[in-house]
Symmetry: C2
Subunit: 327 residues, 2 copies
C-alpha cells in the first residue's frame, strides 16, 4: 500500500491513498484524515485502507484523481520524533579517514544515532530555503521507517512488527557546522535544517523480496543538477532498521509516528557513487589529496528516486531546488 499527504493549508495536510504506479489517488478521509492519525490507529485503519488501495489499483474507485507530487507534503508533514541513524559504516569509515574524525570504539556494534528536528518536514518538490551558501549545503539520501508505539527496551527481535511504513528522505545537511557541533558533543542543531521526504510512504510488503532482513535492498538513485551522482544500495546497511529501533528505545518508549532514518546510504564499491557530497569529497581527498567537488549553490537541484527491479518508481521522486531563505 502507498500513502501520501496532500497540502490543504493545514499543518498536517490530508491523507491520500496512492496507486502502485503513483498516478492516481483517492482521499483516505472516510477512513482516516491524517498520517499521524493513521499510524496511531493502524490496527483499525490498515485493512480498510488496503481495500481502498486495491480498488484504486483496479480502477474501480469512482472519486479517484490524478496524484500530483508537486501538491504533496511529506507523507508525515511533522512528526513527534525523528531519530536518524548512521547505519552504513562505509560512510562513517570514509569520513573518519578523510577528515581525521576520532574513531568511535564501539562503532561496529552500537549504532550511531542523533535526535533530529521533526517539526517541519518538507515535501518532495518543495524548495529548500537556507540562509547561506557558505554553510556547505549538502544532501543526504536515506531510507527511513515510520513506527507505531514501541515499548521501552524493545529487543531488535521484537522490533520488526512495529515498522508500518517505509520512507525515503533527503536529510539536508550544512557541513560547515558538522565538525563544530560534533566537537561540542551536543549533536547537530545548525547542521541539520528541515529534512525532505519522497511523495509516498509504502508498506514493507510493497517491496516484495527487496524488503528483507530489515533493510531496503534497492539502489537509491541520486542526481545533482541532472547528472548522475550515485546509486548506492540500501542492502549494505550494517545495522538493520529493527536494530535501530531497539537502539532508540533502550531508555524510553517511542510513541507512534516516530520516524527512524538509516543515515546516508553508502556502499563499499566506489563505482556506485555516493548519496551525499561530503562522501564524494572524502573519496577525492583520499584518492587525489584534496576535495575537488564543491557543495550546493542556490539554484542547484537534487533528485532522489528509487526504482524496483522492474524499473517502476517506489516512493516517487524527491526533486528539489536549494534557494536563499528570505531574511
Amino acid at each position: 500500500m502507498k500513502l501520501g499527504t496532500l497540502k490543504n493549508g493545514t499543518r498536517d495536510g490530508k491523507l491520500v491513498v496512492v496507486s502502485r504506479d503513483l498516478r492516481r489517488a483517492v482521499h483516505a478521509r472516510p477512513i482516516v484524515s491524517t498520517m499521524q492519525d493513521a499510524i496511531e490507529n493502524w490496527a483499525e485503519v490498515e485493512l480498510p485502507l488496503r481495500a481502498l488501495y486495491d480498488a484504486l489499483n483496479a480502477g474501480t474507485v469512482p472519486n479517484a484523481f490524478d496524484f500530483d507530487p508537486v501538491a504533496a507534503a511529506a507523507p508525515l508533514p511533522r512528526a513527534y520524533q525523528w531519530c536518524d541513524g548512521s547505519a552504513f559504516l562505509n560512510h562513517g569509515r570514509l569520513m573518519e579517514k578523510a577528515f581525521g574524525i576520532a574513531p568511535v570504539s564501539d562503532f561496529e556494534t552500537v549504532p550511531l544515532m542523533y535526535q533530529g528536528a521533526s517539526d517541519d518536514f518538507l515535501g518532495p518538490r518543495d524548495d529548500v530555503p537556507l540562509p547561506s551558501e557558505a554553510h556547505g549545503i549538502d544532501f543526504e539520501g536515506e531510507y527511513a521507517i515510520l513506527v507505531d508505539d514501541v515499548p521501552m527496551g524493545c529487543a531488535a527481535g521484537q522490533a520488526a512488527s512495529h515498522i508500518k511504513l517505509l520512507l525515503q528522505v533527503n536529510d539536508v545537511s550544512l557541513r560547515a557546522f558538522t565538525p563544530v557541533e560534533m566537537k561540542k558533543g551536543f549533536g547537530f542543531l545548525h547542521a541539520k535544517p528541515s529534512s525532505s521526504f519522497a511523495p509516498v510512504a509504502v508498506t514493507p510488503d510493497e517491496l516484495g523480496s527487496a524488503w528483507r532482513e530489515g533493510r531496503v535492498h534497492l539502489p537509491l538513485n541520486v542526481r545533482w543538477n541532472g547528472e548522475w551522482f550515485g546509486h548506492p544500495n540500501g542492502g549494505e546497511m550494517n545495522f538493520s532498521f529493527p536494530q535501530l529501533i531497539a537502539h532508540a528505545a533502550a531508555t524510553r518508549r517511542l510513541r507512534a509516528g516516530t520516524v527512524i532514518g538509516s543515515g546516508t546510504v553508502s556502499n563499499a564499491d566506489p563505482r556506485v557513487g555516493s548519496a551525499c557530497i561530503a562522501e564524494r569529497r572524502a573519496l577525492e581527498l583520499l584518492e587525489q589529496g584534496k576535495p575537488l567537488t564543491g557543495f550546493m549553490r542556490f539554484g542547484d537541484t537534487v533528485r532522489m528516486e528509487v526504482l524496483d527491479a522492474s524499473g517502476r518508481g517506489v516512493f516517487g521522486a524527491i526533486d528539489q531546488t536549494v534557494v536563499p531563505a528570505l531574511p
Copy 2:
C-alpha cells in the same frame, strides 16, 4: 494566565484554564481543546482564554472544579520539537573542571543546545520508569518556554514576542551515557529519557517583574527524598530565552509548539545548592577529591517547585518517583 492539560485517555489530553492559586480549573473546550491547538491559534484564543481565567479567579465560573495535579499531564503532553540549551555557564564550567571535559572555545558567546526527544513528555506526578539504577539516574531542574511559529533567522531582538508560555521541567538524565554520547559527537539519545513538566504553563505577565530580560528571576526549589537539594535562581542564565530562540532558528524555522529549555539552573554561589546531582558531585570532586553523593535509586522522589516573591506556587510542583520500567 495559567494553562494545564488533564489526562483523558487521549495522547493530547484536554486543555484547562487553572486559577492563579492552582486550586480551581475549568475546561478550555468551548474556546480550544488542546495545548497544541492553543499555541497554533494563539492570536485568536488568547483573549477568550484570559477572560475565562479572570472569571475563574473571580469565582464566577459556574462549571469550575478542583484542579488535581495528579490528574495532570505535561501542559503539552507531546511536542513537535524540544531544544534544550545549556544556558547557565556555571554548570558547564563546573562539569568541565570536574570531569575533564574539553572546553568549548566559543562557550561564552554561542549557546550549547541539543535536540531532545519530545514525543512522550511525562506529567508532574507521573512515575519516571527507567531500565536500570546503574545508568546514573539524575534529575535536572530547568525553566522552558513554549513558542509560536518562529521564522528562520529570527534575531534575538525579535524573538521575545514569540514566547507565549513559560514552563518548568525535570529533564531526567542518565549520566552513565552522557560522556559516552558526548564523545561520539551525535548528541544525547540514551542519556535523555522522557522529560517531565510542572502542572501548568504560565504567560510571562503572570510573573510580574520576576520575568525580565528574557529570564525567570525566581529560585527553583529542588528536594530529593524530602530533603533540600538546592534553590538556584533562574536570573543567572547567561543566555536569555530570546537568545536561545535565535540560536535554534539560525538555519530553520521553528514551528508552533516548539519547547526550548534553559538547561540545568545553576548559580555561582555554591550555598544555593544545585538543581541536578551531577553538579553536586562535581562540586564534591573539586572540593573533597571525589564525588560523595550517589545517583537516584528506584523509589527515590524528586520535588521541584517555584514560588513567587509572596511564597505562592507559580507552576505547581513536579513531584515524582523513579521506578523500574517493566521489561
